[in-house]
């Protein structure tokens, strides 16, 4: 093999290795971004804050059965979702598992809330409930509720205690966000951001 061919081969191998290294580095940065992203549910400044009483305490479920927020017996995890929001769908199994686990510690009801009551939207809700095997007794359609909590982005969650007082709230995009609500509640702060800031 001539010197030229040899150097060419070596150079190619180095180029490929370098490209791979650059790609690996990029991935690492991506993972890093994911890790440093605030793990707590993201607070919004609008609407009722943690410590305020829930603006609405009586709701009517999808099957017309009544729901009470803060009935003195159990706390409520209120999750605002929409059949057209992909993140909400990926969050549903997580909500169920977190809800079940938390229910072992203290009584908890998980309520899914959405809005839109036109014929087409109702069809979407029914399909949503069937596809994801949701409980009609725990599914609320109420524009008023969303307005009262000033929900701007989905999926949005609020944790309401037995007495009907909001304990934590925020945008939840992942299991970590959702768990941070319970965490914040147990630590007695409105959000993990507040907790970290107080250090």
């Amino acid at each position: 093999m001539s010197t030229l061919a040899a150097s060419q081969t070596v150079l190619w191998v180095i180029v490929v290795i370098l490209c791979f290294v650059v790609f690996a580095l990029m991935r690492q940065i991506g993972v890093l971004h994911e890790r440093v992203f605030p793990a707590g549910a993201l607070m919004t400044r609008h609407g009722p804050q943690a410590g305020d009483p829930a603006p609405i305490d009586r709701l009517v479920a999808f099957d017309d059965s009544p729901i009470t927020l803060g009935d003195g017996l159990r706390s409520t995890l209120l999750l605002f979702v929409s059949p057209t929001c992909p993140v909400c769908k990926s969050l549903l199994p997580i909500v169920q598992s977190v809800g079940r686990r938390e229910a072992n510690n203290h009584p908890l009801q998980v309520i899914l809330a959405s809005d839109g009551d036109s014929a087409d939207e109702m069809r979407q809700h029914r399909e949503f409930i069937t596809v994801h095997k949701l409980d009609k007794k725990r599914y609320v359609i109420s524009k008023r509720l969303g307005l009262a909590f000033v929900v701007e982005k989905l999926p949005f969650a609020a944790l309401i205690d037995k007495a009907g007082v909001i304990r934590a709230k925020g945008l939840v995009n992942s299991r970590e966000h959702l768990e941070s609500l319970f965490e914040a509640h147990e630590r007695g702060v409105a959000s993990l951001q507040e907790f970290l800031a107080s250090d």
């Binding site: 061919a5 081969t9 190619w12 191998v13 180029v15 490929v16 490209c19 791979f20 650059v22 790609f23 580095l25 990029m26 991935r27 940065i29 991506g30 993972v31 971004h33 994911e34 440093v36 992203f37 605030p38 993201l42 607070m43 919004t44 400044r45 057209t84 929001c85 992909p86 993140v87 769908k89 990926s90 969050l91 982005k153 989905l154 945008l171 995009n173 992942s174 299991r175 951001q193």
Partner: protein, 199 residues
């Protein structure tokens, strides 16, 4: 062997890798993909799942036919498909519906998958990216000078190594776009406390 032949081969293999990855990704996340397609709000609901399947098959077919080569129309179909994607993104960006999962593929998604609820959102960067890919696709349609001989082992080696390098570089750029979006979102959270998390 001319540089034109190498470039033509390399671009073709780059497109093969893009379409193959896109198709595999869509198959493995079929439900999320259907939801993402719905979120684009461009198709009537009854057509969604059929169209999702059609896109997967088309991408798979393009990957195969571009790999085998020799059928010039696959380059044109690839360009057309990329234009359709770019148009769909541009339409939603113009509508202000920019909190949308791209539903693209591969490394563009979050490193830990859909579970974290963070994927690439549509942006003008991605529209530009698609336009560049359209140019690549059309470039592969240019007939390469008549091959007077079979490719030698050195020529094949150059094509293979250059393809691998280019695929890695492309993936790195994709990952860089995701990272940039993520860090921008992170900064938005830090500075305002009222983030623009994707719906």
């Amino acid at each position: 062997m001319s540089a034109a032949i190498t470039i033509s081969f390399v671009l073709r293999f780059l497109l093969v890798s893009i379409f193959l990855r896109a198709a595999l990704h869509k198959i493995s996340h079929y439900r999320e993909f259907s939801a993402q397609l719905a979120a684009y709000q461009l198709l009537p609901r009854p057509l969604l799942s059929a169209f999702a399947l059609f896109l997967i098959l088309l991408e798979g077919f393009l990957a195969l036919s571009l790999f085998i080569g020799g059928w010039v129309y696959s380059s044109f179909i690839a360009a057309a498909l990329l234009i359709v994607y770019a148009t769909a993104m541009a339409l939603n960006l113009v509508r202000g519906n920019d909190d949308l999962d791209c539903g693209c593929s591969g490394p563009a998604g979050s490193p830990s998958g859909f579970s974290s609820g963070e994927t690439q959102t549509i942006s003008w960067t991605l529209v530009v990216r698609n336009c560049i890919l359209v140019i690549f696709a059309l470039a592969t349609a240019i007939p390469i000078p008549f091959l007077s001989h079979h490719l030698s082992i050195q020529e094949l080696g150059t094509i293979a190594l250059a393809s691998i390098a280019v695929i890695f570089i492309y993936s790195s750029i994709e990952q860089a776009i995701v990272n940039q979006q993520r860090s921008r979102r992170y900064l938005a959270v830090r500075s305002s406390g009222n983030p623009g998390m994707p719906l």
